[in-house]
Amino acid sequence: MRRGIFLSLMLIASILVALMVGQVDIGVADLWQGLITGEGPGALLLGTIRGPRVATAVGAGAVLGLSGAIFQTLFRNPLAAPDIMGFTAGAGLAVVAAIAMGLALPMPLVASLGGLVAAVLVALFSWRRDAATPPLTLILVGLGVGFAASALTTFLMTFLPTVAAGEAQRWMTGSLAARDWGHVAQVWGLGVILGLLTLGQVQSLTVLELGADLAAGLGLNVERARWGLAGTGVLLAAVGVAVAGPIPFVALMAGPFSSRFTGARTLGGRLAAAAAAGALITVLGDLAARAAVPGIQLPVGVMTGLIGAPYLLWRLSREMERGEL
């Protein structure tokens, strides 16, 4: 519990630093004054530039982290994350397709559709008539669906005019540049609804974690519970993708990082910690991406990629030593 508080404090501190540091540095006093009076440089930064950016980062990171933790718990495998299994790639494909076709639909809707289609395809392709699908097959098939989605995305981008293609490319890396309060409202509004939905399913996830046989024995409708949880997880990831692009590896890292850090035992505590950790990783990643090279704002996805890929390699070697892979 104490370390849970420490994680929250770290998140608050990182949000403050992210609001203060940038092309123009600003003190806490100015921020406070801007917040209270609505005037001065603090108000400008909070209201139009860094405020929406950081709020979007927190929301997108939280939904991605929560989504990752749901899948990792559901499949009882630390590699089962929406970014590994192709769901975020599916959401990204849908968004680029919508841009290419000039559809004026709300992005979260489009991304959710793409993510859901990818998830259904993964389930369909890895389904076996004779036996339950092992999680590793699911992960491999998911990787393949992700590859297919990325290939189609690249294909569609050749249809876009150069400027739009450049923008799409930047978005595909995962970027928080030029977010406005509309993005914040989308990710927080939908995030809270989906978070409540998750809360309603915590009990069945707790039972599922004991194993499908035991869960069925305890009177749980295993298939329905699984689909409900997977659907919620996909929608969470898609909302994150819709506002910030497919930021890589946040969903993969958040769960293991937070449960190791906080030592939370209950599933509810672990999920909450994963959401907080996802937000922390995204805010810090964006801060580092903005600060890395003076005068140039790198997309946040570059930073999470640089941190996440070594983590994935480390994870693989550890699973290998434990004989799980």
Binding site: F125, L143, G144, P248, L298, V302, L312
Partner: protein
């Protein structure tokens, strides 16, 4: 019989690739272009300086990638091994962007010469990281290690490209995985590199087959596993390096070709290598030709066409692995 079918398919694709396009040409044009070349005849110029280099580039790169895929799959006993998926292309891209930024030069031969060592370093790295040297590189491990290395290198590449606008432009043209600049690439040198790699593979094939029976048995047959693995990696590097230098990054070709080649070649790895070379060349050429046609006069890069075809094949192979075999 199967071999005759394979070769006639290749010839058919070659004929198609040479004749159709923005400007449709007949094979008779080729005869006159070779016997009586007229530098002012646009048809002749198209043939000799655009279509023919492009055909050669596709055959070199596709054949090299097919052989590299066969070697990797034999070495790792992993049907999902493919140079592109294992981070080799990302390694080449990284070396390319770092090198052109540091050297301040970006002509075609510099690009080719930089891509080569980058591909080599990445293939060695991912093989070691995925546990390949222990001879137990499971599909999930190797594929994910490749995906991780890809992500890491591409993050670095994106960072450099966004910081330096000039590198971004170089990268945009190269990362395409396109054959449209084939004439400017060092085709002759890379054909030799691919041929040396292929020759090494041919010489190593019997020992690799012995190795696939298990290292203990291979030792008993007089094979030194470490040496064979190292030599095979060199051959993989030569072939993929050549392909990357000629055609840019192309994934999935080395994944798709070997299973089909095995159908033609049976259980002999030497025959499989030959079939992979023919099939790989033909498939890349077909992808390039289709890419020129479907959006004409715009082009879809050959790398994209191959990936659109290859991703479903990846899913199909991943799905058909027995549960025990995924480890």
């Amino acid at each position: 019989m199967k071999w005759a079918g394979l070769v006639s398919l290749l010839v058919l694709v070659m004929g198609l690739s040479l004749t159709v396009g923005v400007r449709d040409l007949t094979l008779a044009d080729y005869v006159t272009a070779i016997t009586a070349f007229d530098p002012y005849d646009p048809a002749h110029v198209t043939l000799m300086s655009i279509r023919l280099p492009r055909l050669l580039a596709a055959l070199i790169a596709g054949g090299a990638l097919g052989m590299a895929g066969s070697m990797m799959q034999a070495l790792t006993r992993n049907p999902l091994a493919d140079p592109g998926l294992l981070g080799v292309n990302a390694g080449a891209a990284f070396a390319l962007i770092l090198g052109t930024t540091l050297l301040g030069r970006a002509d075609q031969s510099t690009i080719a010469m930089l891509a080569f060592p980058g591909a080599a370093a990445a293939s060695a790295a991912v093989f070691a990281l995925g546990g390949g040297l222990r001879g137990d590189a499971g599909p999930v491990r190797l594929t994910l290690a490749g995906a991780a290395l890809n992500a890491l290198l591409l993050s670095l590449v994106t960072a450099v490209a966004l910081i330096r606008q000039d590198s971004l432009d170089i990268l945009r043209f190269w990362v395409a995985g396109s054959l449209s600049q084939a004439a400017a690439r060092p085709l002759f040198e890379m054909a030799i590199a691919a041929a040396i790699g292929g020759g090494m593979a041919w010489a190593l094939a019997l020992r690799l087959e012995a190795l696939s029976l298990g290292s203990a048995l291979a030792r008993g047959l007089g094979t030194r596993p470490g040496l064979v693995q190292a030599a095979t990696l060199v051959a993989v590097t030569l072939t993929t390096g050549a392909a990357v230098a000629v055609a840019g990054p192309i994934a999935f070709l080395g994944l798709m070709v070997p299973p089909v080649a095995r159908r033609v070649a049976g259980h002999s790895l030497r025959a499989e290598l030959l079939a992979s070379a023919i099939l790989g060349g033909g498939l890349l050429l077909l992808a390039d030709t289709l890419g020129r046609l479907i959006l004409a006069p715009a082009e879809v890069r050959a790398g994209i066409m191959v990936a659109l075809l290859g991703a479903p094949v990846f899913i199909w192979i991943a799905r058909s692995l027995r549960p025990g075999a995924t480890t």
